[in-house]
Amino acid sequence: MSAPRIKKVCVIGAGTMGAGIAAQVANAGVPVLLLDIVRDPADRNAVAAGAVAKMLKTDPAPFMSKAAAKLVEVGNIEDDLAKVADCDWIVEAIIERLDLKQDLYAKLEAVRRPGTAISSNTSTIPLAKLTEGRSEAFRRDFLITHFFNPPRYMRLLEVVAGPESDPALVAAVSDFADRGLGKAVVRAKDTPGFIANRVGTFWIQAALNAAFDLELTVEEADAIAGRPMGVPKTGIFGLIDLVGIDLMPHLKQSLTSTLPADDPYQAIARTAPLIEKMIADGYTGRKGKGGFYRINREAGKRKEAIDLATGAYRPAATPPSLPGAAGKGDLGALIALPGKFGAYAWAILGPTLSYAASLVPQAADDIVAIDEAMKLGYNWKYGPFELIDRIGATKLVERLAAEGQPVPEILKLAGQRSFYRIEQGRRQYLGLDGDYHDVVRPEGVLLLEDIKAASKPLLKNGSAALWDIGDGVVALEFTGKMNALDGDVMKLIGEAIPLVQKSYKALVVYNEGSNFSAGANLGLALFALNIAAWGEIEKLVSGGQQAYKALKYAPFPVVSAPAGMALGGGCEILLHSDAVQAHAESYIGLVECGVGLVPGWGGCGEMLDRWKKNPALPKGPMPAVAKVFEIISTATVAKSAAEAKELGFLRPADGVTMNRDRLLADAKAKALALVDGYAPPAPPEFRLPGAGGRTALDLAVQGFQARGLATEYDGVVSGLLAEVLTGGDADPVDVLSEQDMLALERKAFMTLVREPRTQARVEHMLETGKPLRN
């Protein structure tokens, strides 16, 4: 039986998870019905409607745009359950009580259309229990889809199919979750906690126990369990503060009650008396009065940490630095450290990695699923088996055996071998059959990581590289620290253009860093301005302008594919591309004014040109100028690709890819679609308002200053921005060229860069990552 395409979804249960799932469905552009119980007979949809209203005020936002929120229809399960007949997928996300879920399923069975997928977002209840008493048809259409919180931002989706689940339907839901919702689907088995929470809870418990047992401070524990292990820098205690300390006993309870008595987790599960006391006293973490860390506002916002022995807060100490290789990410050296630091590292890694290894094939078919789940569900940089490779399976087995700890089969199987290897450019993993198998990407996924493993770059320097990604398309990758843009990037663009023109069809600007690019290399700029190398700085500005315009007018299509932050110069390269294929989670903005500068690589003119062509704006010289001024002077950053379209950073026809792993393939397809009959764009002309328009903008800024919303120096910076956007000395009857606009940008940029207060802003940004409001 072929499964229907998912055109409408129903989510039942408007708690944090259910509402968040509904929002992500809406973000995908798919209408969604959100139902919850009737709590107030006078306002029957209040629970679901309240959840939507709350989400519109939540930061980080569950919705990618206000338009998405309009795709959510709210209702209640008493009046509206029959509407599920119009839905192709019903997601149950009500509270974790088997009786309530079973009651709901019985009701759903009566009203749903057969063949409609039904899934539960349960994190603890086995599938077999959920479908007890249901018809065969219901069991065929049922599966578990376990989202992580918050559903918009956490990429992992664990999918559990039962023995009777229809494979075509499971595939259809998985495909929608992958392409539509942007999730990385990991298939898990019907075992307690599935994969990520099972390993994650064990890991947290092991780390907590060891910190108490070895009498570490929370700072010491987090310094070892955080970055050195490739875990977010919060470490263990910081992570628990973030998710909520009160969640810990619930996690423990749910796993101890469902796991078999001989599961290793049962032996380590315990709640420290200090944690019980903290919860009772309201110290539940960041959402409560504080947690293992707190900000003491009575002591001038002092950061404090709790003493694990006494429960008293004291000023937070500087985390210890680890010696030698242990501090540089060598896990073998870390666990071999003498004293309690090494003992702590081993007390976490030994049992946790061993436990993870014991879950294949019990909880997952292969090691790749376990690694993926931990990387995407717990933000680990490396999965458990990748961590084992970094220690060496042999070393791990030896030490486990020496300590009399159980050694899982798969570790014995690995022996001297690693769990992953690169063979002829292909990444392979060790299977349970003892052979290596290719890590197979989902159909249609193209990753630069794979291309890089299998080929050599066409061009490369210290800040950028050019790769052949097949079918006549090349990818320009930024490779510098934070993907910062500098003279080398511009140089490589200059070299790439003739190469592509000669031997290829199209170019894609893409990389797999966590951010596309946070903009120009400020550190380099600060160095140059500290030695007053004004000529060098102007060369960097004009070099960037020329490189970006050369890309814009190159005789082949250029498609940029951002994901994460694309700020400043990273945004300007998008503005110069023929088209953009953006990951839905793209954060795009021209933020130069925040560091006391103006966009200097053509961003001002490109944004003006876009807004001039926007038919929604009134005619005349000012509306586009005022709009662009507002966006740039306030350093507005779009918080999604959808918002970037509203702000004009993206064009209406630019593409949005929900799944990060499909971005390159989509961008490549978009570039290839532009190849036939490609002609570079015609240069724009500008008719700008001149001094009169500038006066209007200055008056507006003075109003902000009077209200205390802008500083005196904000006025200086935005005054120079206004100078660029209104055309400098031009008269409204003059026609300005793109080159004129670039000259205006350069002049404003070079004026500001010499200002001490701009220099202070740049320095502050480099030191703190935050803008200075001087």
Binding site: P618, K619, G620, P621, M622, P623, P689, A691, G692, G693, R694, T695, A696, D698, L699, G703, A706, R707, G708, P732
Partner: protein
Amino acid sequence: MTNVVIVGYARSPFHPAGKGALARVRPDDLAAQVVRTLVERTGVKAADIEDIIMGCAFPEGEQGFNVARLVGLLADLPISVGGMTVNRFCGSSMSAIHIAAGQIQIGAGEVFICAGIESMSRVPMMGFNPLPNPELAKRSAAYIGMGDTAENVAAKYQISRAEQEAFAVASQQKAAAAQAAGKLAEEIVPIPTKGGVVDQDGTLRPDTTAEGLAGLKPAFSADGTVTAGTSSPLTDGASAVLVTSEDYARAHGLPILARVKSVAISGCLPEIMGIGPVEASRKAMARAGIAADQIDVVELNEAFASQSLACIRDLGLDPAKVNIDGGAIAIGHPLGATGARIVGKAAALLKREGGRYALATQCIGGGQGIATILEAVE
């Protein structure tokens, strides 16, 4: 000399710009409905109307193209009826009445519709293309923001924040009482919209308290005293009065509300434009040969509480006679429509409350005041 009389007054409901019930109504359509209803209610013979003179402070976009003429066509008035749009910012539609009075007195017509329109939802204050003269901006406060002028007046005339708030609360209470008593309904023209018929003002905030206002942040200056609660709101609305010669009104049996006794304009410094009504009213009173204590009804546009209080004090007006049914802080201030509203309202109040003279006056951005003295007709 030919006497000029006000024989009818009507207005649309006033609603907050952006979020109000009229935000999605085109301003030309809104004004046309008010004009059409005014003609119907007064029973004036449409063919006798010489001209529609319409005030608008930002006559562009949907209220551009000489909107007065278009409103005549939209209202299906005879093709012979002319149309002229005038702009004196907030004084626009009061100027329309003054122009009509002058036309009547030089024998250039006997019947005029003097109207005003402003959709502050659909045409922003400052218009779509503000292009101030840079040199003038340097040497004068010609382009100063209105809120800043309210702060200046508050400082210069020592109007405390508490006084402003007490004034705003009183305005809200008077308007709420008038609305509850049905005293506003007779002047309002119900407007059909996609969301249903709108027949009540949406601007009133009857729950306003001094304590509530005291908690608001200054709206224009970090250390200022003027807040959103003591300012008139951005408003959508239209208004119209029928102005004729007294002879025409009597000959055709039209119900005269009041006679136009005198009018005046006076410039003042742009940075304290809110004080404009003082000199304009003094000139108008001098022309009418009356003193402030002879005035029984005052409609003083409440652009801001600070300037209203400063004008009331400087002119020596009796606060009990000012804005009996509430003022713009409660009812709203659709810039181009306010002048016709307060002249029409003053005329109607003179009839309702009794008394001999009424004053309608307002301040004007850029530094002006405008005033009209009305006289009861026996």
